[in-house]
């Protein structure tokens, strides 16, 4: 602390050091025979700080005891705080799966299929020829508008996805053509599982504007 009462008044910091050992143990007259430490160690140099008169503890001085108590309290509080922070991050999540099987390819007719829109948030589109892959097959479009994340409606008569929030429009390919949406809808990873079913993995997304629709896993060739 800055206002340490017994800070040396003269002398540069470099000259600080242990004080020279005095020859005589100086016992203040009013403490003679009252403090155990002075009586037990008569050869000790005089303490720099005045001892409190009623501090007669043989083990710990009042000051070290308080330091120990506050230190333990601080450590316990810090531990409790850390434990509370950790408590907020559970080890198990009850969230819908990001990866799921959606049946066999011959269960899907050409065009946009809406059967998984509510449950998994994807449209399955079967196309005779994809704009990027230039082959027949399947892709999975995520149902989140690239403007602000609303869910567009599939308008089968007009062959477009139309977002009800701000009017963004997307082709069946997912490419945006009207409204404020800045980029095409995203596609999810779509592959064939070992049992022949289509497997969709929403954890891996493919963006057209980054050239990712050319990735073989963004499109299931038939």
């Amino acid at each position: 602390m800055a206002d340490e009462p017994n800070a040396p008044v003269e002398g540069a910091p470099a000259s600080k050091g242990p004080p020279a050992k005095p020859v005589q143990p100086a016992v203040p007259p009013n403490l003679a025979g009252k403090t155990t430490s002075v009586a037990a160690a008569p050869r000790r140099p005089p303490a720099k700080k005045k001892k409190v008169v009623d501090d007669t503890s043989p083990l710990l001085s009042r000051r070290s005891w308080l330091g120990l108590a506050w230190g333990s309290f601080t450590a316990a509080s810090a531990t409790a705080l850390a434990a509370t922070g950790r408590f907020m991050f559970p080890n198990v999540l009850n969230e819908p799966p990001q990866q799921f099987k959606i049946g066999f390819p011959d269960e899907y007719a050409p065009g946009v299929d809406e059967r998984w829109k509510d449950r998994f948030g994807i449209w399955i589109v079967r196309t005779p020829s994809d704009i990027v892959q230039e082959a027949a097959g399947f892709y999975a479009l995520l149902t989140a508008c690239t403007h602000l994340g609303c869910t567009p409606n599939w308008l089968s008569a007009e062959l477009k996805f139309k977002c009800p929030c701000h009017g963004s429009g997307f082709r069946p390919t997912g490419v945006n053509f009207e409204g404020p949406a800045p980029r095409p809808l995203e596609r999810a990873r779509i592959v064939l599982a070992e049992d022949g079913q289509i497997l969709v993995d929403k954890a891996r997304k493919f963006q057209f504007e980054l050239g990712q629709w050319a990735d073989p896993e963004s499109f299931l060739r038939l």
Binding site: A2, P13, T84, V92
Partner: protein, 271 residues
């Protein structure tokens, strides 16, 4: 270094930054008075701090004698604070519905780090019932319920009831067999409430023509359970009472209780 301008040559960088810190407005707003090392400063520090001022500046020496007070009132308050804290944490994971209540309790042990949080709340609740009883026992044995403290004794009795009700309402929330049947048995007692319980004395007198005014679907037990048996309504009702209603009531009474202790001359001591 020796040529640079320093206000006092003996000050190191640490002391300079400490001096700067203690001069800032933020520091001075938090610590409005000097260190409490003189009697005057001690009073100023305590009285200008909303938390510290709840405790008196000075106590009688007997006020800190454990063998006299047992510190049971203080322990009850400490347990209430820790129960509030752990209880709020549990509310982040617990949903009071038939579908989720039990599995969320299991999840608090199995799926959440530090699954002991729920146990701390549970054992803390049991401990608070014990410390409140011991506190009342001590107050009784030392005669501290006598005037001028008789009003505070009554406040304490109400808080004892609230503590027991907190324990009772919390008991239902795990929604296991023990909880459901314990509350079934406990709430059946409300059937026998005089006049207000369907099977209580006098309720049969409350008739309008030949229509009974107090029956199983509108009596005291129904008000407790929000239904005619321990079901979804009871779970939600007990949850709201346990987490909001009863804690608010007991917190207000605690403020009255502590204030009254001060007004009646501080913690009671040997005559």
């Amino acid at each position: 270094m020796a040529d640079t301008k320093i206000v006092t040559p003996k000050e190191g960088a640490l002391e300079r930054s400490w001096n700067w810190l203690t001069e800032t407005q933020v520091w001075k707003s938090v610590f409005r008075h000097n260190a409490p090392i003189t009697d005057r400063n001690r009073v100023l520090v305590v009285l200008s701090n909303v938390f510290l001022h709840l405790h008196p500046v000075r106590l009688r020496k007997s006020g800190v004698r454990l063998r006299y007070t047992w510190c049971m009132g203080g322990l009850s308050f400490f347990l209430f604070l820790s129960l509030t804290f752990t209880g709020v944490l549990l509310m982040f994971y617990y949903r009071p519905t038939l579908e989720y209540a039990y599995t969320d309790i299991v999840g608090l042990r199995e799926h959440v780090p530090l699954g002991i949080m729920r146990e701390m709340h549970r054992w803390g609740g049991h401990a608070m019932v014990v410390t409140v009883w011991l506190h009342m026992f001590r107050v009784f044995m030392t005669g501290s319920y006598k005037p001028p403290r008789e009003f505070n004794w009554n406040v304490g009795v109400i808080m004892l009831v609230l503590t027991l009700l907190l324990s009772f309402t919390g008991y239902l929330l795990p929604w296991d067999q023990l909880a459901i049947w314990a509350i079934t048995v406990g709430s059946n007692m409300a059937r026998a409430t005089p006049f207000m319980g369907a099977e209580g004395p006098g309720s049969a007198l409350l008739m309008l023509g030949d229509v009974r005014l107090i029956h199983a679907a509108d009596d005291a037990r129904f008000a407790l359970l929000g239904g005619t048996f321990v079901g979804e309504g009871a779970l939600l009702r007990f949850y709201v009472l346990h987490c909001v209603g009863l804690p608010l009531a007991i917190a207000v009474l605690m403020a009255v209780h502590f204030w009254r202790v001060r007004k009646d001359g501080g913690i009671s001591g040997p005559a």
